[in-house]
């Protein structure tokens, strides 16, 4: 079952020129339940738009989204979204940010506080529950953002370059943290990144998108056993294949010349 993306198209009207800009072009894919799927593609190709459409923040121009075989109903089906910029509420503490989703769902105060404290403990945020976002490091802020999404028990978690603005050490730590979490909670994750190394390390499947309008051009199954060694021959081989597929989609002539 899982999430079925059927013939998804999305176009915008350019505000200045009034031209129709096609962003997604007939995207089909079936993300099976509990899988970790990464999406890579040239920057600005429409990966973010795809996530936004799945999250219900944009209406698709055409096509359908099915969850467990039914059309997604955003009133009932929770689709989590984690942004690169964390998007924490600056006037809320760690605890208050994490429990926000439950607050919206009108879960009683003690209950949501207890649930949030569980996440704070398991996310290594103990001692920071009453701090405000600006007092936390980038890595911690992103943990808060992930906890805030997971606490609502989403059917699918969409992540839009969540580790894009972190230094490589923190990034590696959070990748391992996310994997452990995913294996424990068995949640379906769709993960957008421009970092092929990250995609190979984390995913069951990697999807390569074309430049705008985004079409799905290649898919790769990453079968290397977990926990993965980033430097293993298998990982290197996958990386090479994905990079080659991406290279074919590069729009920048300067970059193509150099390589």
């Amino acid at each position: 079952m899982g999430l079925e993306i059927i013939g998804l198209c999305k176009s915008f009207k350019d505000q200045k020129t009034s031209d129709i800009v096609e962003v997604l072009d007939d995207v089909h894919y079936h993300v099976h339940g509990g899988r970790f799927v990464s999406i890579v593609g040239p920057s600005g190709c429409g990966k973010t738009t795809l996530l936004r459409v799945i999250a219900g923040l944009e209406e698709p121009s055409s096509g359908n989204l099915l969850l467990e075989g039914r059309k997604i109903s955003y009133d009932v089906d929770r689709i989590g979204l984690v942004f690169q910029e964390y998007a924490l509420f600056p006037w809320r503490t760690t605890l208050e940010n994490i429990e926000l989703g439950l607050e919206i769902m009108e879960v009683p105060k003690e209950e949501r506080r207890a649930a949030a404290m569980d996440y704070i403990r398991s996310f290594g945020l103990k001692g920071f529950e009453n701090r405000y976002p600006h007092e936390l490091s980038g890595g911690m802020q992103q943990r808060v953002a992930i906890a805030r999404t997971l606490i609502t028990d989403p059917r699918v978690v969409l992540m839009d370059e969540p580790f894009g603005s972190l230094d490589s050490q923190t990034r590696n730590n959070l990748q391992s943290f996310l994997l452990a979490l995913w294996q424990k909670q068995k949640v379906t994750i769709i993960f957008v990144t421009h970092n092929v190394d990250e995609a190979v390390f984390l995913s069951d499947e990697v999807l390569v998108f074309s430049k705008r309008p985004a079409r799905l051009t290649n898919r790769f199954d990453i079968t290397a056993p977990r926990p993965r060694d980033r430097t293993s021959t298998e990982c290197n081989r996958m990386r090479k294949m994905i990079l080659d597929a991406l290279e074919a989609e590069r729009s920048d002539p300067l970059l193509t010349e150099k390589s």
Partner: protein, 268 residues
């Protein structure tokens, strides 16, 4: 009203233009290049007010409900157009919903004030209905424009916050609660400030006019109080209603925020 008004004859009117010459001279001296605008502005002031004078005279003489309502409606349509032009955000088509709600709220307020509070008979008596209606519209129009501008710019600026709330299961109402509140407040503050300053910092135009026309200051202030209270009330009603309506228009049927950032695609 008793007393006599000193009439302003054509010569005095031309004499008053000395002020414009002063302003024009200053503009030339400082190189502001406002002379042309000053000229156009002066001509428009003369033309528009003379036209208004004749229209009012005509409507007063007809003394029938329809021309009064026509003038009223005309003022509201223009006010809506001015609001539309003041708001930089052009993605939301709010002209018609705004016009309808302005007609309804202004009509209610104006009828209440002339028919019930002042007790003019009939309620549309043009000498009361048109100037009071005009003041109502002119004063609250700014507030509505401020509110809507604030709402739209806030929603756009804090788009990510709104969308985060939507993703966490909030409806559009909940997700935009903060922005709606701020917009309503922003619209109300000037009206409340003017209630604070009236009579101390400035003498309102209507009262001035009545006193010049020979009215007892104590009668004039009562009119002024009624008018100010009416303006604050109508402003509140209209900016709250307007903010709600426009906020609803910013979201699609499936509760997506429709306002796009300036350039879409990659966020910065």
């Amino acid at each position: 009203m008793t007393g006599t008004v000193i009439e302003i004859g054509p010569y005095q009117l031309i004499l008053a233009l000395v002020f414009i010459l002063l302003a024009g001279g200053a503009s030339l001296y400082h190189g502001l290049r406002l002379e042309k605008d000053l000229l156009v502005g002066t001509i428009r002031t003369f033309a528009q007010l003379f036209l208004l004078g004749y229209v009012l005279k005509f409507v007063f003489r007809l003394n029938s409900v329809w021309p009064v309502l026509a003038v009223f409606l005309f003022m509201i349509v223009f006010a809506t157009r001015i609001i539309r032009s003041r708001i930089k955000e052009k993605q939301v088509a709010f002209f018609w919903p705004m016009l309808v709600s302005m007609v309804i709220s202004y009509a209610l307020a104006a009828i209440l004030i002339t028919g019930v509070v002042i007790g003019a008979k009939p309620w549309w008596k043009p000498q009361y209905f048109i100037p009071l209606g005009g003041m109502l519209i002119g004063n609250s129009m700014n507030a509505v424009a401020i509110s809507l501008d604030r709402l739209l710019s806030d929603l756009k600026e804090r788009r990510q916050e709104v969308e985060m709330m939507l993703c966490l299961g909030a409806d559009y109402h909940e997700a935009s609660k903060d922005m709606v509140k701020n917009a309503m407040r922003a619209g109300m503050i000037p009206a409340i400030n003017s209630m604070m300053a009236v009579g101390v910092v400035f003498i309102p135009g209507m009262m001035t006019g009545q006193i010049l026309a020979g009215a007892d200051p104590l009668v004039a202030i009562r009119y002024q109080i009624v008018v100010m209270v009416m303006i604050v009330g109508a402003t509140a009603m209209l900016s709250f209603l307007g903010v709600r309506i426009v906020c609803k228009l910013c979201f699609g049927p499936a509760q997506q925020l429709l306002l796009r950032p300036e350039k879409h695609g990659k966020r910065d």
